[in-house]
Subunit: 289 residues, 2 copies
């Protein structure tokens, strides 16, 4: 892992420090840690504001290229235990850029229509168009996470899905989509604190789901199911990152950095004019008023 | 028009001052004016920040209710001459709220598939779900604006559309959608300045469309077509507002105020728990860790 100081607070880039190949297994991962980052909350929040502007500029560049016909896109896949803060990432990191350039999709329990198709059907339909940043709040990985934990389909079927997902993502990447996969990890104690808070404040009731406590009973089975997607569906072109989520400020900063890195690697420039600039300048200069 | 000072800078609410019934005809409307608002740019920008937080809170309330099954939604329809700044409204007003709660759709030149359906087909598909704020960047009104100006369909056909649109919007309102329709008005001189700027900066080329100059040649026909939608498709339940757009800061503040008003009129409260709070508190308290 590189130790070069790429900016204040970071001793190694988020893309390295948070990559599943660096963090080690999820079962022993510290959800309150800040891998690669030595700064505190105050610095983290200050950085998020600054880096948010960098992200917004890069997003506009991507959008402009999309409008000019570039088919490349970015897809941020968010998975995580209940209360890990996926929604907060959408709001606070997605909220840093022009909402016009976002394509946000939440994947809940499949509808009847969705169940009547193969598990990737609804995912295909939600893929970002060229120039967009897609955000999946849950994703096709649901089909090997709760589905595996609860054996919602026979093992023989979910076993096949890892390979199908890899093929699917390989095709996406080949077609110009940069994929960033983030698993947000909350500790059991922090989850309990968040559930408690949701029950104490009537303005948080709507976020509380009694089913979350039932799911918590399968904690270890989930860790195993998560580890399986890291072991079987992580690659340099569709990498998995572990986002420690006990500190919300860090999770947001980390995902912002991963997006910035993805956009910078596209090495975009403003699209060339598809018209004769000098001719148009004369036309505009000749306008009345 | 009420003269009550509802907050600093405003001498009458945006909903009154900008309503087409107050502003008078578009042909004599001053695109650099700030109807109802006596403050300057500095105050306007300060207010937008403050009011943006109010808007964000209300949007979260709407979203929470949507999650709890409330089917009500808000639909912001943006129309306007080229360069009037529709995209800027999406970015800077839409950007004030959680992007997860937005459903943004841009309506361009209809595709082959869209043309094979009636003109409202693509609009129906883009309507916001309950709990969402929909933003239409252009809309079904395109079918009586450029379509009318250029007679893209026979007059007998576009003439019928005003009535069809009114019926459509009446049905939307009856089903719980609050509709806000904004026509952004830029002056000819400001349009020329914006077109000039787009040609001077390579980072703006992508926003320049030579066709905009051709369209400008139909300025008066557009004013007439706009006036027709105000005369025929304005009602208390689906009102039209004229947004003067020469001052971007004012256009943003104005649209923010219109959204706040729409959300406040829904008179929302946090949704009640659909579970037994005391029972759940005990379950959570009993969790390990």
């Amino acid at each position: 892992m590189s130790k070069k100081k790429d900016r204040s607070g970071w001793e190694s880039p988020a893309t390295e420090a948070l990559r599943i190949t660096s963090t080690g297994p999820i079962a022993t991962f510290d959800a309150s840690s800040t891998p690669g980052f030595t700064g505190d909350k105050a610095l983290g929040e200050k950085l998020l504001l600054e880096r948010g502007e960098v992200l917004a500029d890069l997003q506009e560049l991507l959008y402009a290229n999309g409008r000019a016909g570039d088919h490349r896109s970015v897809l941020l896949v968010l998975q995580g235990m209940d209360t890990a803060g996926k929604g907060g990432i959408v709001r606070h990191v997605g909220g840093l850029v022009d909402p016009q350039g976002l394509a946000i999709t939440g994947f809940g329990k499949p509808t009847k229509e969705e169940l009547a198709h193969d598990f990737l059907w609804r995912v295909h339909r939600a893929l970002p168009a060229g120039g967009r940043i897609g955000i999946f709040d849950r994703s096709h990985y649901e089909d090997v996470l709760p589905v595996r934990v609860h054996n919602l389909v026979p093992q023989a079927e979910w076993e096949k899905r890892y390979h199908i997902i890899n093929e699917f993502e390989r095709e996406l990447v080949a077609n110009g989509t940069t994929i960033i996969k983030c698993a947000m990890v909350v500790s059991k104690s922090e989850q309990k604190a968040r559930l408690t808070e949701r029950l104490e404040r009537p303005d948080k009731y709507w976020k509380y789901n009694p089913g979350d406590i039932d799911e918590r009973g399968y904690w270890d089975a989930y860790l195993e199911a998560y580890q399986a997607i890291f072991d079987r569906c992580d690659s340099d072109s569709a990498p998995w990152y572990l986002i420690p989520a006990d500190k919300k400020w860090f999770a947001r900063l980390a995902v912002c950095e991963l997006l910035i890195d993805a956009l910078q690697r596209l090495d975009l420039d403003w699209p060339a004019a598809d018209f004769d600039v000098e001719v148009e300048k004369k036309r505009v200069a000749a306008l009345d008023v």
